[in-house]
């Protein structure tokens, strides 16, 4: 019988995964909550199962997801990113229900999801770490541990939620007074957000580059890396622009980082696709940050420069296949940039534009252009999910060519209805520092003027607006 894979996600990533499933000749099963009734992933999947009214809680309901997979007689579940992707309980539940989980084992997810355990594993394996503490003890003892750490390494330090991730649950602490105030606040926030009030301290690396390595491992002990990505351009720790490979010129350093990533994955007994994240400081020291135990949003840039379909590989490995390529087979070629086109108003503090209808949707095409989206003309963006509309990924032989292509594609995009991040990105990529590839995680803070773009319509659209107004008002209100 034809294999069936359930995609436990929505939006663009559900479509992305469905494509690979269908390319393999398998059947894709979608799931959805009521607000997604008109979503494209349901139309594209071979079958779709309604979970409930949601919002979000049904996508997060492991029981319902497993039941849906059983109902559809699915052989495997792909969790995508977000929702249940890094929840070890789903991997566990799959194991118990005899369904293949496309991702690492529950134990690996659990170990790497716990920051302190992860640091311990990496320390034992000799992976360079940002200096940090264990989980702080509760009460006064924890405060003393924190003070001692700060005395040894100096402020600023980072206070992190052990269970945090994706940029959440992190705060910067610049002095002792702040430290005393922030520890209880961070605990209660972590408790509310992750149901786990453990926190720990790390030395703050100032203005680092965020460099990560895509790794992929089969169940037979083969682990390879697919090169680096740079995700330094972030807004409040949320990535906006991702590129592959890193623009660090020192190839020996890059090789070392990649080898370290493979070593880290092996130390964690990692299987399937994952991402090892590093910080690279201004003196080109690198530190392990964490391993993301899932497919990343930005996996597309790695696919563009390696030619390897990561999702297809994930599925094959999960189904028990051996890696079909060795490290030597992985060759990087050219550059790729991905931008997340969100329905947000950058000039209104990136306020989501959910609830609006996409009345016009026209996307760019041509050589070196890839789109991973899920909206269509007439689609009303649900207010209850994230604001990502489409990921634009471009490929080019040189960095310059890639930026040129990116600019062209952003200009070719027409999205009418919600405001989007496109005009902001257009301004961003015109920045000379971006063009030089000279950026780190402080880029948006040191380039605040980027927000002062004007969303310029072209001449014909301006004139069309007047014609529309004459049509609406029955006369030209500006020439009465």
């Amino acid at each position: 019988m034809k294999k069936k894979i359930l995609v436990a996600n929505r939006g663009e990533i559900a479509l992305r995964i469905i494509r690979s499933i269908q390319e393999l000749g398998y059947a894709a099963v979608g799931i959805y909550e009521t607000p997604d009734s008109e979503a494209l992933h349901i139309r594209t999947a071979d079958e779709a199962i309604w979970l409930g009214d949601g919002p979000r809680r049904d996508y997060l309901n492991i029981d319902k997801v497993i039941k849906a997979a059983q109902k559809a007689k699915a052989d495997a579940i792909h969790p995508g990113y977000g929702f249940l992707a890094e929840n070890p309980d789903l991997s566990q539940a799959c194991e118990e229900a005899g369904i293949i989980f496309i991702g690492p084992s529950a134990e690996v997810i659990r170990n790497l999801g716990d920051k302190v355990t992860a640091r311990r594993i990496m320390q034992e394996a000799g992976i360079p770490l940002v200096p940090g503490t264990k989980d702080l003890s509760r009460g006064e003892a924890g405060v003393e541990e924190a003070k001692a750490f700060a005395a040894q390494y100096d402020y600023p330090v980072m206070l992190k939620a052990t269970a945090g991730g994706g940029g959440r649950g992190i705060r910067r602490v610049d002095n002792e007074a702040q430290l005393l105030a922030e520890i209880p606040a961070a605990r209660s926030e972590a408790k509310a957000a992750f149901n786990n009030d453990s926190v720990y301290l790390e030395k703050l690396v100032i203005n680092p580059k965020h460099v990560e390595v895509q790794i992929i491992a089969d169940n037979f002990g083969n682990t390879v890396h697919l090169g680096t990505r740079d995700c330094s351009i972030q807004r409040r720790n949320q990535k906006l622009v991702e590129i592959a490979p890193s623009l660090i010129q020192d190839q020996a350093l890059i090789d070392k980082i990649c080898e370290t990533a493979v070593k880290a994955a092996k130390a964690a007994n990692y299987t399937n696709a994952g991402t090892v994240e590093f910080l690279v400081d201004q003196d080109m020291n690198y530190f392990f940050m964490e391993i993301n135990t899932r497919l990343q949003v930005e996996h597309t840039v790695t696919e563009m420069v390696t030619g390897i379909d990561i999702v297809r590989t994930q599925i094959k490995l999960a189904l028990g296949k051996q890696l079909a390529f060795t490290q030597d087979d992985v060759k990087l070629r050219g550059h790729a940039i991905e931008m997340r086109i969100n329905a947000e108003d950058p000039q209104n503090n990136f306020m989501p534009e959910g609830g609006k209808t996409v009345s016009v949707y026209r996307s760019p095409g041509g050589y070196g252009v890839r789109l991973d989206g899920f909206v269509y003309q007439g689609f009303t963006i649900p207010e209850v999910y994230d604001s990502l509309l489409v990921k634009l990924t471009v490929f080019g032989f040189s960095w310059n060519e890639t930026v040129d292509r990116l600019r062209r594609c952003l200009k070719n995009f027409v999205i009418v209805g919600p405001k989007t991040t496109i005009p902001y990105y257009l301004k961003l990529i015109e920045d000379p520092d971006f063009r030089k590839g000279d950026f780190n995680t402080s880029f948006l803070d040191t380039h605040p003027h980027l927000i002062e773009y004007t969303d310029q319509d072209n001449e014909v659209n301006k004139l069309a607006r007047l014609i529309a107004e004459i049509h609406f008002k029955q006369e030209n209100p500006y020439a009465v």
Binding site: V360, A464, N476
Partner: protein, 637 residues
């Protein structure tokens, strides 16, 4: 015969004109547009006519100045400088002519000297012939403009405004010409500015002859209007008595109040042995063939009052003010009182106020005073701010006689002598800090303005900013024909609109369906260059619509009564052009609160009580109806 082309110096031009065997024609397209189409003829149309007008080889094309600069930005949404640039591309040889109101430039009241000089300098880059006038024929009011035009090396054409009556003798005018020449020197053209089209052919002939007799070398340019249908007679008399240049217009657009048709002038004078030098008659015909197709789209702006009006000899309103006067009469619902206003009250006011020249801004003062005298019941009982300024001599000395004491008493009260003593006479207007204005404009625009933008802003601050913002939002709309710009009733489903944008790119817009959403929004679909676009408009809420439709509830007495309690209402329909108080500000009776502008006249609304301003109900640029709340003052007692 050598053609007179732009770029020639005044000396060269005068050399050619003084040897001319015949006469030259100025095509007064601007005056025609102003007199018969409320200034609405679009640049789009003038560009269509550009090629044949260039070929016609006129002495000049009057295409800017007068009220047109204000209307360009206010109603036609075109940059007055861009207009001249684009026309110059089409018409490389033709001299462009303007009409400048001296110290009032292209507006309605005096500007500071440094503004006048800057504005003239900027426009002089495009304008070759400068016709300058003052409605009191007060030469000092024109002096700054004279100087700047001559400095710029352009052709200066000072005017003597012409009117009729016992004071308007040849001797008076010849003396005026002498006063002008004393200021400007000999290298000028002289305009006889007959903006009303007054007097008979005989009268004009005599005047030209008298001037030429005293100043045989002076080139006389006759300008008239055809309001009574007889301007060709006056033009003929002018040329036969020595005028060298005359004004006329394209026949396809001629109406009742503008200049007469060029070809009729040419044919008439030919019989008298006078040739229109260099004029290509076929090009004149071709222009009108082009314009004729456009005229239907301007119908809405033609006068509500059809037919020639020989009674202009009685009421003396200038052709350029006729259309707007009748429009006001229609909107104010007093069209039935027009015979009384025009034929009884206006001539009476004219004589009472000094029998000077009825032309902007004086014509507006006469007109509003006459309307107010008839409609308001009591004569001079509701004087406008500008009438007060006139009586105080702010515009210049009365040329013939001062109005009678009883008018002063009526307008200023029993203390009028003291007021006249204290406030009378022309005020010295001080230079303003232009760089500060530039900063203010930059702040309003969000970017540094160009010099041209600054010049437009200095003349009409609010309207200029609105226009610049319009252009940012809607682009350069002069590319749209009048059939689009002046469309009433919207477009038909499937109608296609083709045009070439400012940069030369061809576009096609197809009108799609119009739908109302559940939320009450109107969705308008257009296919723009074969791609669908949606435009969403909020319907006016019923509350707003009801408020807009609501007729004025209060009469004049009620408004006066409310004012005594500190509830200050608009006494008439107007635009708020200045707000002089803020909330929490203390005011005294007699303090100016806001300034209203109606019919181009500014009238301050003053407090009738002492107290504190607690609320402002209005905003700059807002249109108010009679009885609308302006300011709430809590009185002291």
């Amino acid at each position: 015969m050598e053609r007179i082309v732009q770029g020639m110096s005044i000396t060269e031009v005068l050399g050619i004109l003084r040897q001319a065997d015949g006469y030259y024609v100025t095509n007064t397209a601007r005056d025609l547009s102003q007199s018969d189409f409320k200034n609405r003829i679009l640049l789009h149309t003038d560009l269509l006519a550009g090629e044949s007008r260039e070929r016609a080889a006129y002495f000049s094309l009057e295409i800017t100045g007068g009220a047109s600069i204000h209307v360009d930005i206010l109603r036609k949404q075109v940059d007055p400088f861009l207009k001249l640039e684009l026309l110059r591309e089409k018409m490389p040889h033709t001299m462009f002519q303007t009409l400048c109101r001296g110290v009032n430039l292209f507006g309605y009241r005096p500007y500071p000297p440094n503004v006048i000089r800057l504005v003239v300098r900027e426009f002089a880059k495009y304008v070759d012939v400068w016709r300058v006038f003052d409605f009191m024929n007060h030469i000092p009011n024109m002096q700054a403009v004279f100087e700047e035009v001559q400095k710029a090396g352009k052709i200066l054409e000072p005017s003597i405004c012409f009117s009729t009556g016992p004071e308007h003798t040849d001797a008076f005018y010849v003396k005026k010409v002498g006063e002008i020449l004393a200021v400007t020197g000999d290298e000028i053209l002289l305009c006889i500015k007959n903006h009303g089209g007054l007097g008979t052919p005989k009268r004009i002939g005599e005047l030209v002859a008298a001037i030429k007799q005293k100043y045989p070398e002076l080139i006389v340019h006759y300008h008239g209007h055809n309001t009574d249908g007889n301007d060709i007679g006056r033009i003929t008399a002018a040329v036969l008595n020595g005028a060298t240049i005359v004004d006329a217009a394209d026949h396809a657009f001629t109406g009742y109040y503008g200049p007469p048709p060029i070809l009729s002038v040419v044919h008439t004078l030919k019989e008298h042995g006078k040739t229109a030098i260099g004029l290509d008659e076929q090009a004149v015909i071709d222009t009108s063939e082009t314009l004729r197709n456009e005229r239907e789209h301007y119908e809405y702006f033609e006068s509500q009052f059809k037919g020639f009006l020989p009674t202009v000899q009685i009421h003396k309103l200038p052709g350029g003010a006729m259309g707007s006067s009748f429009e006001q009469a229609v909107k104010g619902k007093f069209l039935d009182r027009m015979p009384e206003i025009l034929h009884k009250e206006l001539p009476k006011v004219q004589v009472e106020l000094g029998n000077w020249w009825s032309v902007t801004p004086g014509s507006q003062i006469l007109w509003t005073t006459a309307v107010s005298n008839v409609m308001g019941g009591e004569r001079y009982g509701n004087p406008s701010g500008d009438l007060k300024n006139l009586l105080l001599g702010k515009y210049g000395p009365f040329p013939f006689y001062q109005p009678a004491d009883w008018i002063y008493e009526k307008v200023f009260g029993p203390e009028w002598r003291a007021i006249l003593e204290k406030e009378g006479g022309m005020a010295e207007i001080e230079d303003i800090d232009i760089e500060k204005e530039r900063e203010a404009l930059a702040k309003r625009l969000g970017h540094a303005p160009t010099d041209q933008q600054l010049v437009t802003y200095l003349q009409h601050p609010n309207d200029a900013v609105n226009f610049f913002k319009f252009e940012e939002k809607f682009g350069r709309v002069y590319v749209l024909p009048p059939s689009i710009m002046f469309r009433r009733g919207g477009f038909k489903l499937g109608e296609t609109i083709k045009f070439r944008d400012h940069f030369g790119k061809e576009h096609i817009i197809e009108v799609g369906p119009k739908q109302k959403s559940e939320a009450g929004e109107s969705n308008i679909y257009l296919n723009v260059d074969h791609h669908q676009r949606l435009f969403v408009f909020q319907e006016e809420t019923t509350e707003n619509a009801a408020a807009a439709a609501k007729p004025a509830q209060l009469n004049k007495d009620e408004i006066t009564e409310l004012a005594k309690t500190g509830d200050i209402r608009a006494p008439f329909g107007a635009n708020v052009c200045e707000i002089l108080v803020e909330e929490d500000q203390e005011v005294k009776a007699g303090d100016r609160l806001v300034v209203l502008e109606a019919m181009k006249m500014q009238t301050p609304v003053v407090s009738t009580v002492d107290g504190t301003v607690v609320q402002l109900f209005t905003a700059l640029g807002k249109t108010v109806q009679p009885g609308d709340k302006l300011v709430r003052i809590v009185t002291d007692e």
